[in-house]
């Protein structure tokens, strides 16, 4: 008969009307992400040996490593910068690191309000300084200054 395809389609829709819904009520129910998920970055300061393999692996030049030569002649890490605005979250840096100092965490909730907060920085001392934002803006010279002026940040 002519209309059977339409009636079959309507039957399928009515069947799905009563089945379980796939919506997750987000802020109350967080999604259950697999452990390899590329959420945000975690960095272990003591494991880093300043080999710069991550800097060379990154396609966009996101990572900047500041290190100084120690008394023994070994390199000691002072500061580890990632300007996440350029990051593709491809994960090449995590694969290139020989000591697994940089790794992915599944926490994807990394929104921020200022443009300077996009730059993540790990320093030697754990204390949070008062003029943290000013220092971040001053030390990341790879951000072209003109962008900050236009946005008024």
């Amino acid at each position: 008969m002519y209309g059977f395809g339409i009636l079959k389609g309507m039957g399928i829709t009515m069947k799905r009307f009563f089945m379980k819904k796939v919506t997750q009520q987000y802020p109350e129910v967080k999604p259950n992400l697999p452990p390899r998920s590329h959420g945000s970055f975690g960095f272990d300061f003591d494991k880093c040996i300043s080999c710069n393999l991550c800097v060379n692996a990154c396609p966009n030049g996101v990572i900047r490593v500041d290190s100084e030569k120690d008394e023994n002649g070994k390199k000691a890490l002072q500061q580890y910068n990632m300007s996440l605005g350029y990051c593709l979250y491809c994960g090449f840096c995590t694969k290139a690191c020989p000591t697994k100092a940089i790794y992915f965490k599944t926490d994807f909730d990394t929104i921020c309000y200022n443009k300077t907060d996009v730059i993540r920085q790990w320093k030697k001392s754990e204390k949070v300084k008062e003029d943290y934002f000013a220092e971040v803006a001053a030390t990341t010279s790879e951000e072209p200054k003109i962008e900050q002026k236009e946005r008024g940040v």
Binding site: P34, P59, F104
Partner: protein, 371 residues
């Protein structure tokens, strides 16, 4: 209708099926000259998504550029990644271990299923069957969860390295894959039942945008569009690359060449891809997942062109190397760029609604047209 129009003075007008339109899949612009609702002439205008990827490749090393390749065709990212990696390996004559090849096939076919599901859902919503669109995308969620479990990214996975793959399968992958495939079959049957037998859908897509096999070859169309026109040209069977000759799968071919054939072709191909994945999971060999590759990749001086069967057609990469760590020139031969060349030819005499249905069934991705 033609009889009436002889005494009727009508005026043609140009309309912009503009870059910002709900159903050009991306920023595609077609300038149509209409008479009433009938198209007299159509021109393609592209370039609104040009990001300079081929120029960017000249200042990235070979390993770094592999992260940019999934962004070319963002709906079938893993397959673009595969095409690039295979081309560099051909230039450097690297042999990939067998387990890595099987893993490449599994992820590649999963990505092919995800890309075809987008076409099925988008065709449905372009004809305003909104519910079928939702069912297709819920099915795709299961595939994206599998991709996230293995590679870490849902869309645009940068999983393939020169010489192998990045990571092995986690332990929970195989039971999860079985569950996802069962759910996918369920939803695919639902979408099939809702749409393929629907009289209104059939009247909208049967006999619309017909392509004959000769015309398809003349315009260089490849992929599922060519197979829906009657020509059984699948690179996985004709010139098998990777380990495709070890799997038992069919190449579906349909004779009509209209929108309905192109739509059904994707559903048939999804079922074949599921067969390949099940066979690959069942016969996964042990071994290393990457070959021995030098730390700094410097290919010998020369040029190479290699192609694979992507979800939308034949995807080719052309690399010219001058012996340094960065390519001298890289060109991506994308299937959608060639496929849209046939639109000015078949659009003449169609209605605007038929043009939208044809555009939807061709499966173009603006990311790989404009690069």
């Amino acid at each position: 209708m033609a009889l009436m129009e002889e005494n009727f003075e009508t005026q043609e007008y140009k309309i912009n099926l503009g870059p910002a339109h709900p159903s050009t899949h991306g920023v595609f612009r077609a300038v149509l000259t209409l008479n009433g609702e009938e198209i007299i002439k159509s021109e393609n205008h592209i370039g609104y998504l040009h990001r300079g990827i081929e120029k960017l490749a000249e200042s990235r090393t070979y390993a770094q550029f592999a992260a940019l390749t999934p962004r070319i065709d963002y709906l079938a990212g893993a397959l673009n990644n595969w095409g690039y990696v295979v081309t560099v390996e051909k230039l450097m004559e690297i042999e990939v271990p067998e387990r890595a090849e099987y893993l490449r096939v599994i992820i590649g076919e999963l990505q092919r299923i995800a890309s075809h599901l987008i076409l099925i859902s988008s065709t449905c919503i372009d004809l305003n069957a909104t519910t079928a669109w939702m069912y297709g995308f819920s099915a795709r969620e299961g595939i994206l969860d599998l991709l996230e479990m293995v590679t870490g990214s849902r869309m645009m996975p940068a999983y393939y390295t020169i010489g192998g793959v990045m990571d092995d399968l986690p332990l929970e992958f195989i039971p999860a894959a079985k569950k996802v495939i069962a759910d996918l079959n369920d939803r695919l049957n639902d979408v099939d039942g809702m749409i393929s037998g629907n009289e209104i859908f059939l009247s909208r897509t049967k006999g619309v945008g017909v392509i004959t096999p000769e015309k398809a070859i003349e315009f260089g169309i490849t992929g599922p569009n060519l197979r829906a026109a009657g020509n059984a040209y699948d690179l996985r069977k004709i010139a098998p690359y990777s380990v495709y000759d070890k799997f038992d799968f069919d190449v579906p071919v349909l004779k009509d060449g209209d929108c309905f054939a192109r739509f059904s072709m994707r559903i048939l191909e999804i079922r074949q891809s599921i067969r390949i994945i099940e066979q690959a999971i069942a016969s996964l060999p042990e071994g290393p997942i990457t070959a021995k590759v030098p730390k700094i990749i410097k290919p010998p001086i020369g040029e190479v062109y290699n192609q694979i069967e992507s979800a939308k057609g034949i995807l080719g990469y052309y690399i010219v190397s001058d012996g340094s760590t960065k390519p001298y020139r890289l060109h991506v031969h994308s299937p959608s760029f060639v496929n849209i060349g046939i639109f000015p030819e078949i659009a003449v005499g169609m209605y605007v609604q038929d043009f939208i249905a044809t555009l939807a069934s061709f499966d173009i991705c603006l990311g790989e047209i404009d690069r």
